[in-house]
């Protein structure tokens, strides 16, 4: 009898203890659920690509506000922890180590651009982290990391997809062009873009009459353009960053470059600053764009987002149009959001597997990823600028100054050639 009462007492104590444990556990889960979901990244807030970096940051903050307004992700409010990478690749490894080991963020995404994504890759691979990236050209071709994803619409072979539109448009000329000059800045993105261009050159049997790069801090580009002109190329493919895009466009106008088609991979002419500064100097240039008002109506949510973005950008002195990076920065976070919600957690392996095997509805349309983490289908537009008058921004906000040449579903016209006639 005495033994029974001891057992009963013990059972009561054990039961109470179990109940207390369960209660504590539920408090912990609730506490975790109330902790913010911290996403860390570096972003170019100063340096040559800061204009893009700041625009991307605005878009990501708009996404954060939208998501938090709906209660966050998995019930957790989203918070950003970010630092300025100064568009300097050397800062990136230390910056991401700090985010992971000191700030202890829950997830990391990349900053903007090939130059600052590549240096983060060894750390991501070492820690086995899922890594969503923003506009890195062909970064994963050397790493072959299966948890890398990239939001730029260049397709599964990015350098080739990025440059395809220029060559498709060029091969539509009659007679077909035979010679090409390749020129670009001595930097990561232009190098990779020119690698892609060389693949098309070989495929199409074009003869390369000029193939050189220049230091990014070149002041006067007219010697380069004259050297190109001396080779008399049918096509001139240029891969450049914003200051040299402006320098080369000015130089080709001053020298009076004569060629059938000029352009291809100029970064910078997608933003309001260079569109308005260069104005009519851009007439005749063939270049890539990711969005133009010619597409409005095809992506209705995007139009609504652009309105929100443009209001904020005007206040912060950043690209007031937002046609280039912001929609894709927002879409990158939408993919992350949907993957976390679907997998109900932050496990890198599960997130990577989910992203590889599903498509996502985003502001830039349906997005799916290939095995190497790049977009499964390329969707970079190649356009020709024409009819630009003066340096006002309003003409860029409506259809009329851009002819979409490629890809087919978005085509609005054919290329005007030669370049020297298309300028007028």
């Amino acid at each position: 009898m005495r033994g029974n009462s001891v057992l009963t007492t013990l059972a009561r104590w054990l039961g109470a203890f179990a109940a207390a444990l369960a209660l504590a556990g539920s408090f912990a889960t609730e506490a975790l659920a109330q902790q913010p979901l911290r996403i860390g990244f570096g972003m170019s807030l100063t340096g040559p690509l800061a204009g893009n970096g700041k625009a991307a940051l605005i878009a990501m903050e708009i996404w954060k506000d939208d998501v938090n307004a709906k209660g966050g992700i998995l019930g957790r409010k989203v918070e950003f922890v970010y630092y300025d990478d100064q568009t300097n690749p050397a800062t990136v490894p230390g910056l991401y180590t700090k985010l992971l080991d000191v700030d202890k963020v829950d997830l990391v995404v990349s900053g903007y651009g090939t130059a600052v994504i590549a240096p983060a890759m060894p750390l991501m691979m070492q820690r086995n982290l899922m890594f969503m990236t923003l506009f890195g050209l062909n970064v994963n071709s050397k790493f072959n990391y299966d948890r890398y994803f990239q939001i730029m619409p260049a397709g599964p072979e990015p350098a080739i997809g990025w440059t395809r539109g220029f060559f498709e448009a060029a091969m539509g000329l009659n007679p077909k062009p035979k010679t090409i000059a390749l020129v670009g800045a001595d930097a990561e993105y232009p190098h990779l873009a020119l690698e892609g261009a060389r693949v098309h050159v070989k495929r199409l049997g074009l003869k390369v009459v000029y193939d050189k790069s220049y230091p990014p801090n070149t002041t006067d580009y007219s010697p380069i353009v004259r050297a190109i002109q001396a080779t008399n190329p049918d096509l001139v493919y240029l891969a450049s960053y914003p200051p040299d895009s402006a320098g080369m466009v000015r130089a080709v106008n001053e020298v009076g470059l004569k060629t059938r088609m000029f352009g291809g991979g100029l970064v910078g002419t997608q933003f309001a600053a260079l569109k308005t500064a260069l104005g009519p100097l851009l007439n005749g240039v063939v270049n890539y764009e990711l969005y133009t008002p010619e597409l409005s109506g095809k992506f209705p949510f995007l139009d609504a987002f652009l309105k929100k973005y443009q209001e904020r950008a005007a206040k912060e002195g950043v690209d007031p149009l937002g046609f280039y990076l912001p929609p894709y920065a927002y879409a990158m976070m939408q993919v992350l959001d949907q993957a976390i919600t679907a997998t109900k957690g932050l496990d890198s392996g599960k997130l990577a597997e989910y992203i590889h095997t599903h498509t996502f509805d985003t502001f830039v349309g349906k997005v799916g990823f290939a095995k190497n983490g790049e977009w499964s289908e390329p969707r970079v537009m190649m356009v020709q600028y024409n009819g630009i008058k003066g340096n006002t921004i309003d003409q860029w906000k409506q259809p009329g100054v851009v002819t979409v040449l490629e890809p087919g579903p978005y085509k609005t016209g054919v290329v005007k050639a030669p370049y020297q006639d298309a300028k007028h």
Partner: protein
Amino acid sequence: MEASTALVVNAIIAGLLLGGFYAAVSLGISISFGMLDVVNIAHPAFIILGSYVAYIVNDRLGFDPILVSVVLSPLFFALGMALYRIYYLCFEKRGQESLRGLAFFFGILFITEVTLVLIFGVDYRLVTTAYSEVTWRAGDIDLPMRLFVPFLVSIAMVVALQLFLTHTFFGRAVLAVAQDQLALRLMGVNPVRVKERAFALSIATAGVAGAFLIVIQPVQPSIGREYIGLVFAVCVLGGMGSIWGTLIGALVLGIAESFTSTFFGPSWAPAVSFGLLLATLAFRPSGILGR
């Protein structure tokens, strides 16, 4: 004109125009570093500040940026005086100008850059002028006004400065302070006052050079760092403290860069330019016109 002859002539012209711009950005360093021994590593930051001042006035009022920079140069002069006064009291007077003074100017460089970022943002800025998109052509020879106008004003600035230094009392005092400060003091001239005004003159030239820069290419706050190496290289190549040497050094580097870009490939241009600098210093360590 034959194509290859035209290419050579255009390369020389482009090199001269580029050299004129290099002379303008280096003139201030020739004074502050070459004559006053002040290692003003923040000089490019004042060039960028000049660019933004020119940009604001051009954007709001439509005035020509180079004209604006000349008219507003007294403001940069006053800024230079204030900056030198702080530098002198905190470092030079205490004999700490070498390392701490250098750190001071590094700090000024970054403070200026960050201030510009906070006020103007990080987007590239360009100006529009009546001559930005004008090119004079004579057969196969091109003369873009975007580079020619800054070249002309730069040459005028160099000539004016050289005349000022050699034909005015104050100018000769500046040359004297570079040679022997004690002797100058014994002659009843305050060398600190002379250096203060000479340094202010160097900052004033930076303001004007900034207007040239924004006429020639887009500008954003951190672009000044790309010119740190160049301005000191031109100053050393030309000969420390020699204004004519600065001009000649700048023209030499400009022509070397242009020729290399045209005939051998632009990626070789910095190597050739700085190789020339090393070769010159090997045979003439004081520079082209250095004493």
